[in-house]
């Protein structure tokens, strides 16, 4: 048994591991190495004899760089808005979508469209709806008696949560489908026996569905946390970090440092710092899974 298992491990794991080392690990190592040097201009990239070991100076600089640290804070805030909202919404949708109603397939496809819609069209539509002066949302709010409706994407305080909301709207289809698959796989006997015991629908959800799909929920929470930091395309198109710096998240800063100012080592250091933050969060989540995830 053990020999068979060992053989299986080799067959199943080795191809992936080799590819991983070459295509995932190596670039990461390069990023770490670059962050420890002083390549802060494109000429530095080529004239390798001018390459200097910079130690942790890029990291020290980043830590004392007020705007850079603020951008990390904003990324964290974005994640706090985004992850719970996304997963709660997705589970809710997955539950509704599996109920019985007409045009199921059509509605499912409709819900899927934001995921694949071009980001420019998304930006324009939401820009229209959420226009602080004359957009439908604010006009409705005014009619309902709200005297000072929020500035949404143009408010210094509201830009970030608004972005998180639009991001949830756009990405929910993916989580919804994954949760659908997980929910479908919960054996129906469990529901039947719960019903026999007199459990309400809500109770059934909490004691049957949630525990049974908890491995999936865990995976979704972890992955959506990780990907919430990689929101460059959305932020760039919708607000580009604005107004001012209100929605300037870490990934925008890193991108600008790398590609507009060509300060590669500095950008790499910040990217590695972001990686460490995400890793910390993931490890905490991983440890906590013992408490609520059932296998």
């Amino acid at each position: 048994m053990h020999r068979e298992e060992a053989k299986a491990v080799v067959i199943f794991v080795t191809p992936f591991l080799l590819g991983y080392l070459m295509f995932e690990a190596l670039p990461m190592v390069s990023a770490i190495l670059i962050s420890l040097t002083n390549i802060n201009s494109l000429s530095g990239l080529r004239d390798l004899h001018s390459l200097g070991f910079a130690g942790l100076s890029n990291y020290a600089k980043a830590l004392s760089d007020g705007p850079a640290m603020a951008s990390f804070g904003r990324s964290l805030l974005f994640t706090l808005y985004y992850v719970p909202a996304l997963n709660a919404f997705a589970i809710l949708l997955a539950l509704f979508i599996t109920r019985s109603f007409y045009f199921t397939k059509f509605v499912r496809t409709l819900i899927f469209t934001p995921y694949v819609t071009n980001i420019v069209a998304v930006a324009i539509l939401w820009g229209l709806l959420l226009n602080p002066y004359g957009g439908i949302v604010n006009e409705t709010l005014k009619l309902m008696g709200v005297s000072q409706p929020p500035m949404w994407l143009y408010g210094m305080r509201t830009a970030l949560p608004t972005l998180a909301g639009i991001s949830v709207w756009k990405d929910v289809a993916f989580q919804m489908i994954v949760y659908m698959a997980a929910i479908k796989n919960v054996p129906s006997e469990l529901y039947e026996s719960a019903e026999v015991d007199g459990a309400s629908k809500l109770r059934q959800f909490l004691s049957v569905t949630m525990p049974m799909i908890s491995p999936t929920v865990f995976a979704m929470v972890v992955t959506s946390t990780i990907s919430s930091f990689q929101n460059y395309a959305l932020v760039r198109t919708m607000t580009n970090g604005g107004p001012g710096d209100a929605s300037r998240v870490a990934v925008i800063n890193i991108y600008e440092q790398a590609f507009e100012f060509n300060r590669f080592s500095y950008a790499s250091a910040q990217a590695i710092m972001m990686l460490m933050v995400i890793m910390l969060i993931t490890v905490v989540q991983w440890r906590a899974q013992k408490r609520w995830v059932h296998y």
Binding site: N40, S41, L42, G127, N131, Y154, P243, E260, N262
Partner: protein, 426 residues
């Protein structure tokens, strides 16, 4: 085989190689609209006919920002494409600072090309050296919709005028009922400091720090904000940004006037893609006051990759482009020896494509013979890229009415100075 035989063979081969040498080749990294199938493609073919040097064009899709990014990554990784372009002074300086390009003074000397004689004031020296062949300078002008003017009974603008007069005219033409605005401007960085630029105020103080706290800049930013928010003669920043109004919106016919660069000619000449039933006119740019009679513009440059495979052939092509591109694309050239007659011939094509909207003389008066000086439209210098990025994001806060122009300019100066310190400390 004895030694004599071998030697003979070797010599034959060497001579043969010289005679049947592979044709010289130049590779060009082009914007996607300037590939082989475009008007510029004909220029490349004629160059090959004249010199026997083959040209291979590699178009890069996307915007100028995408183009620049691709160049940065490829060239830093050792790419050997010979020629690249920079459409504005910021990218020109960026390429130099990044070590992407080589200085062409020595190449020009050995090719017996006198760049100063040909291109005169359009040559841009950085630290005493030339890094690119100038081409196609753009100018700024005010384009106007003749139909809207006629409907409102207002006379067309002509000759010298000030910004106050521009605003007054725009107010008379703005008609919310018909969804017509009197004016349109984009959100490029150059607009935010246009007035300061026309007044000749530089972006840097003599000591090298940012000069953005100068009252001229505050006035510029305030003016742009007022156009949309106070005078309401053009879409506010919020409206333009949330609707992502494109730079060529003037062609929709909803704007009486448009202050823009002459790159708008190509959209105005294309009536298939931009159909319209009205005529357009062109006049010179307004100025802040009689002391500040300046027009602005940007010169493009043809630059040569530091790792170019074939630099001397590349320079030949660069010079050919500089001297001849106007014949293919109707863009005014950066040549000293271009006189009124030459300009008129050039503008005639635009006039013809405009279906009688304008005459060649109109264009000439508006952008060449307008009694105005010429300054680069962009602030460049040691932190060109950072300056632009900082200006763009900070003025937005004023434009949406959440901070005064004065505070914004102070903030810009603060951040630019930090960037200057960071660059110097490297």
């Amino acid at each position: 085989m004895n030694v004599r035989c071998l030697a003979l063979c070797a010599v034959t081969i060497v001579i043969g190689m010289q005679v049947f040498a592979a044709p010289e080749e130049v590779t060009v990294l082009a914007y996607n609209q300037r590939d082989e199938s475009s008007l510029v493609g004909a220029l490349y073919k004629d160059f090959t006919k004249d010199t026997g040097i083959k040209v291979t064009v590699l178009p890069i899709p996307g915007s100028t920002a995408d183009y620049q990014r691709k160049i940065d990554i490829s060239i830093a990784s050792g790419d050997t494409t010979d020629i690249l372009f920079a459409t504005n002074p910021i990218d020109y300086v960026k390429n130099i600072l990044n070590g992407n390009v080589m200085a062409i003074d020595d190449l020009a000397k050995s090719a017996k090309l006198d760049l100063d004689a040909t291109y005169g004031k359009y040559i841009n020296r950085y630290k005493g050296k030339v890094y690119g062949v100038p081409q196609s300078p753009t100018y700024w002008a005010v384009f106007y919709n003749k139909k809207i003017f006629d409907d409102a009974g207002i006379a067309y603008p002509k000759g010298y005028w000030t910004w106050d007069q521009y605003v007054a005219t725009a107010k008379k033409l703005t008609n919310p009922a018909k969804r017509i605005y009197g004016s349109f401007m984009c959100n490029f960085d150059a607009y935010s400091y246009m007035i300061a630029n026309q007044k000749g105020v530089d972006g840097y103080k003599p000591d090298g720090t940012s000069n953005f706290d100068d009252p001229a800049f505050v006035e510029s930013v305030q003016f742009m904000a007022d156009l949309g928010n106070k005078y309401k003669v053009q879409p506010s920043y919020l409206e333009a940004d949330s609707k992502k109004l494109p730079a060529e919106s003037f062609v929709t016919g909803n704007y009486a006037m448009c202050f823009s660069g002459t790159w708008l000619f190509s959209q105005l000449s294309d009536t298939t893609k931009y159909p319209r039933d009205w005529k357009w006119g062109i006049t010179q740019v307004p100025v802040p006051d009689a002391k500040s009679k300046i027009n602005v513009g940007a010169v493009s440059y043809v630059m040569i990759n530091k790792n170019a495979k074939n630099p001397s052939a590349a320079l030949k092509l660069a010079d050919y482009i500089g001297k001849n591109i106007y014949k293919y694309t109707n863009e005014p050239p950066a040549l000293t020896k271009f006189n009124k007659g030459d300009y008129n011939k050039l503008f005639k094509d635009i006039a013809v494509a405009s279906n009688g909207s304008v005459t060649a003389a109109n264009i000439y008066d508006a952008i060449i013979d307008n009694g105005l000086g010429y300054r680069p439209e962009k602030i460049t210098g040691s932190v060109a890229a950072q300056y632009k990025a900082i200006i763009l994001k900070e003025v937005a806060v004023t434009y949406i009415g959440q901070r005064s122009a004065l505070d914004t300019c102070k903030e810009i100066k603060k951040q630019v100075d930090e960037a200057i310190n960071a660059t110097a400390a490297k």
